[in-house]
Amino acid sequence: MPSTEHIGWFADIGLQDRPHVGGKGGSLGELQRAGIAVPPGFVVKTAAFEKFIEFVERSGPVRARVEALDADDLEAVTQCSKELRARVEAAELPPALLDEISAAYRALGGASPVAVRSSATTEDAADASFAGLQDTYLWVTDLKQTVARVRSCWASLYSVESVTYRRKRAMPEAGVAMAVVVQKMVNARTAGVMFTRSPITGDRSVMTIEGAWGLGSAVVGGEVTPDRWVVGKITGDVSVREVSEKLIQHVPAPGGGTRTDPVPEDQRRAPCLSDEELQALRTVGRQVERHYGRPQDIEWAVERDTNQILLLQSRPETVWSAKESAPVARPAEDPLAHVMSIFGGKR
């Protein structure tokens, strides 16, 4: 199924499409194009949001209301946010747009559950500060719910935090849009995160992999102490292996959404990844880092039935990258002078 003005399939989009597909969508497209396995999906592009919001505004202004707000008047912001979110969540989609999304949903696989995730178009730093505010809905089981969750993502643009953020910077509402990722859900046996450098020392020659049983939300949300490995990026040597006691896991709930289950006794202290899987993750992590040319912060999952490794997200690592400063050593006019670091004392 071809991409359109409103729908962008992962295979057709990349980072340069961020203004239309958002950071998350662009990154997933970029990964797929780089040959890395991601759960299949599409992006409901910003143009769709614009069509939608114009449609909503037929029954009264939305964007003008936001622009009229004073960022410091929390009460007014709260009141307005509540009202606008409710309107957005309840509004009908323009019929043509609804048809397009429905067709894409069916093309993705129809009955199988999806994740619906907001994909903001703002720049890196702002993106980071939005990270916790934007919404991800897991295990959405039918078309009606999917469309509802797409609206929920759009509505999140009108949360108190988002509105306050934009008003403080006097950002024009005309440029504000939200893309939404709709992606096949991975029934993860194990999931977690991977940094392609050490979060502790910033060392770029190692990767830190953290994972736990079930869906990745338990790790990302901090509800379980994950197993942790430090793996040499180049050598594959595993220098740290910490297997923790994993008491709970997130699993898909029968009627949609997820639920928290206890981990069976015999799996609690068992490592959630095999050595082969660790090495496979290392290979994928290296590939992604090479592709982007910078260290990455990656979310991954291992599919329960096929044991396939899939990436759910990859974004540039920001903490250490911002710190990078002086070289460890500078070339010396006389290369022999370096040995004084050993023989010169005061180490």
């Binding site: 050490s198 180049i234 040597d237 070289p327 460890v328 010169g344 004392g345």
Partner: protein, 605 residues
């Protein structure tokens, strides 16, 4: 961090094991612990001297520290350190560094150092070529020394030639030349060593800063040579295995048949048998001049003197050749992998300046490394074997004249006592009177043998005296891998720590479980069976043929650059080295797990 109140025992608190006082007193006064030694920090050099030292073998410590010290103190003028003092108690060699701390003196020595060491670095290849020439000459000189003999009458041809000097004089000359050569060899040994390690550690230090979590073994792999001399003896055994199959004499090599019996059966196996024996002769000279230890003990015999070690590896290698396996080390592949590793790490550096500095440092490390890896074969193996064998010949002559029962007993005399015994024999041969030695030495030799047996069972502390705040002595850090952190580990081990765990340097990654075979001396090597985990005081690369049998290796002493670590990596064998106390903590036969990537050994039962 609070300073540990706890230190190591003071030298003065160590007691000579009862009943061994006379044997202890036989060591020269210069190396007995004395007043003032309590003020200093000492550690047990179990890396080089893991077993109690017999009286004669102490010549190695004396000659080595004499040469190391002159190189550091007077020749290259290392800015922050002089030489290393050594002491002996209960047969155990303790050593202590001699740091330079006065900034003015350091500055003065730095000037000198740069004039000297930098010249060596700049002219390394030429000087190393010259070194090999000197070393080979020294080896030839040692080989040319006559066997000490005393004929009843001076040979007629000597008389007719007007030699004018009798045979007994040549005992003195040969003994003195033998000793002189050994002391000289140790000067050669240290001519480049500290500079070589220093250049390597410069690169090592850079990597640790740029990649704080890089493992020592990875850095070692970037620098280590692919065709170092240390691999050659084992390569030769593999070659001989192939020859045996090609010549169709492989059936002669069965487990449990002695090397001598195999050779005898080959002598009677027609032309193919003779051809194989010729190939053996090719391998033996020089590559079987490698000994089964580090060359520091007279009983670390060379493969050439005891073929059981190389022959022990043959049946397995032959089996593998017949199974179609190539025993060749894939040199080109290993070389390509090494460059790949260097390139991949280079790519991860943050700045072009870092990359330029990295290139400078690894270039120097590669330049010095052939010496660091290669010198051992010529010095600790080849030359040391010649030396001990020559002394053994004197032992034979003295035994023949009743000084003691067995040629090997000679090693229970100090080098000074041996000089005396030789003088005794020279004189008595001249005079026609019986020598005095036979009344004196047998009792003393028996006493010293008994002392060594007692000392071997006696645990000795890993270190003595106050713990220094920092260890800034490049020699100690480089050669023994001793740092403030490793001392803390030792202190923790002294006071207990988790009882089922032993920690050391991660030397070669991989995880393996198996029965521990605690081998306290070289003679016990034959107890190792397939799948065993070798637990020893110091691992040795010349044990290479048994590395194909074992599943993993653990040692008390050694860093990730020890040759053992290199060979373990080569064999893809998990290894943890420098644990400090594995041989004390792990009992023979216990099931253990070796995690060579983390440097942890776990006792499972």
């Amino acid at each position: 961090m609070t300073t540990e109140a706890k230190g190591f025992p003071l030298p003065s608190s160590l007691k000579v094991v009862p009943g061994t006082e006379a044997a202890q007193a036989a060591y020269p006064y210069t190396i007995q612990f004395g007043p003032g030694d309590d003020e200093r920090f000492w550690f047990y050099n179990s890396m080089h001297f893991p077993e109690p030292m017999s009286a004669f073998d102490m010549v190695t410590a004396e000659a080595a520290y004499c040469a190391l010290g002159s190189s550091n103190t007077r020749v290259h003028c290392l800015p922050t350190t002089l030489g290393i003092d050594h002491r002996i108690i209960n047969g155990r060699v303790y050593i202590g560094g001699n740091a330079v701390t006065d900034p003015k003196e350091i500055a003065r020595r730095t000037d000198e150092f740069q004039k000297r060491a930098f010249y060596y670095y700049a002219n390394w290849e030429r000087l190393y070529e010259q070194w090999k020439g000197k070393m080979m000459q020294l080896i030839r000189d040692a080989q040319a020394l006559p066997k000490p003999e005393l004929p009843e009458f001076e040979p007629l041809e000597h008389v007719h030639a007007g030699r004018g000097v009798a045979s007994n004089h040549y005992l003195l000359e040969t003994y003195q030349k033998t000793l002189e050569g050994y002391f000289r060899m140790w000067h050669h040994h240290f001519e480049f060593l500290l500079l070589g390690y220093g250049a390597y550690l410069t690169f090592f230090g850079f990597c640790k800063k740029a990649f704080p979590e890089i493992t020592d073994q990875t850095i070692a792999r970037m620098v280590a040579g692919i065709e170092a001399e240390i691999f050659r003896p084992d390569d030769e055994v593999r070659r001989l295995a192939r020859c045996a199959v090609e010549l169709g004499v492989d059936a002669k090599f069965q487990e449990g048949v002695s090397a001598n019996d195999i050779i005898k059966s080959l002598e009677n196996a027609g032309q193919p048998g003779k051809d194989w024996l010729e190939e053996l002769a090719v391998s033996r000279d020089p590559w079987f001049n490698i000994n089964v230890g580090d060359g520091f003990y007279h009983y670390h015999r060379a493969w050439n003197d005891d073929l059981s070690m190389p022959f022990a590896g043959l049946p397995d290698y032959i089996r593998r050749v017949k199974a179609g396996e190539s025993l060749d080390r894939p040199i080109e592949k290993l070389r390509a992998e090494r460059w790949e590793l260097i390139k991949d790490y280079r790519e991860l550096l943050n700045t072009d300046e870092d990359r330029a500095a990295y290139d400078q440092m690894i270039t120097l490390a590669h330049r010095v490394f052939p010496y660091v890896e290669g010198h051992k074969f010529y010095c600790e193996h080849w030359y040391t074997n010649l030396f001990f064998n020559k002394i053994r010949e004197f032992g034979g002559l003295l035994a023949q004249h009743g000084f003691f029962g067995d040629a090997e007993d000679v090693f229970h005399l100090t080098r000074y006592e041996l000089d005396l015994a030789i003088a005794d024999l020279m004189t008595s041969w001249s005079n026609g009177s019986p020598p005095r030695g036979p009344e004196r030495w047998p009792r003393i030799v028996a006493e010293r043998k008994a002392a060594i047996a007692k000392w071997a069972k006696h645990e000795t502390p890993p270190a003595l005296g106050p713990v220094p705040d920092v260890i800034d002595d490049p020699a100690i850090v480089m050669l023994w891998g001793i740092t403030r952190e490793s001392l803390n580990t030792w202190l923790a081990a002294e006071s207990g720590g988790p009882t089922n765990e032993v920690r050391g340097f991660a030397a070669s990654s991989g995880v393996v479980e198996g029965p521990a075979r605690v081998v306290k001396s070289v003679e016990e090597i034959s107890r190792l069976k397939k799948g065993d985990i070798l637990v020893c005081q110091v691992t040795n690369p010349t044990w290479a043929p048994i590395f194909q049998k074992i599943a993993g290796a653990v040692s008390d002493i050694g860093g990730s650059m020890s040759h053992a670590a290199i060979v373990a990596r080569e064999y893809g064998l998990p290894a943890v080295v420098g644990t400090g106390n594995a041989t004390a903590k792990i009992k023979d036969g216990q099931r253990i797990r070796v995690d060579g990537g983390r440097g942890v050994v776990t006792i499972l039962q």
